[in-house]
Point group: C2
Chain length 144, copies 2
């Protein structure tokens, strides 16, 4: 059981933006800091912007920043937004062929477990996992 790389990267991008404070950050800079390809990050940043977690400022001196304070960004909401597939087992998905669907009591149990997973993440915000300002010191000073 794993989260997608997309969710993993989304959480890292938000942590990076939080760490930068008021400074606008760029995809190139995040790519360099984490060693994640720019192409991957573009998709992640677009999704985070669309979902209202990041704000993109256009123009030559543009960049990205958190769209709201870190304590208002609930980790459960981020993962709900980025983890589009919570189909724990076959019968949760549209291409389900399991013959016991309908009389099986397992989906209720698995849904309860999934709910418990998300509820823990709902108890934390980006502020709770904030990195120390010096974490990316080398990268950010180079990018200034």
């Amino acid at each position: 059981m794993q989260l997608t790389k997309f969710s993993d990267y989304a959480l890292r991008v938000l942590m990076y933006a939080e760490c930068a404070g008021d400074r606008l950050v760029t995809i190139d800079e995040i790519s360099e800091a984490y060693g994640i390809s720019r192409a991957h990050l573009m998709k992640v940043v677009n999704a985070l912007t669309r979902a209202g977690f990041l704000t993109a400022m256009r123009g030559r001196s543009g960049g990205l920043k958190l769209a709201k304070p870190a304590h208002s960004i609930v980790l459960g909401d981020v993962v709900r937004s980025t983890e589009t597939n919570f189909d724990l087992v076959e019968c949760f998905s549209t291409g389900n062929h399991c013959v016991i669907t309908g009389c099986c009591r397992l989906p209720r149990v698995l849904n309860e477990a999934l709910q418990a997973f998300i509820e823990v993440l709902d108890g934390y915000t980006l502020a709770n996992v904030a990195l120390k300002p010096k974490t990316f010191a080398v990268t950010t000073s180079r990018s200034r």
Copy 2:
């Protein structure tokens, strides 16, 4: 976020064996009932037997049955046994390259969420998700 097909099939195999009661069941029969390939089921059944959830009786009239009563088979234990990869994000795995490993507070939060997921499954046994005896009526009568 998904469980592996291996875990999905393992749970189905145990539910099938539970449904059969004292009758020994065969891999062919389970394969036919669920429409899952015999090759896949062989691996699943071997793992469940090794883990002490199933007992395999050898010989011409051999077959499989639960190794212990359904109410003693905890779903959390089954999933812990079959879901070998609980590496929610990159830093949970051995090939981790994330540069913030060590100072990142996300793993603790994700581990707490994972724990909550498993704890729900620890609250249920195979008996709690038992199928009605008639669920596989057509298949089992054909196999007798």
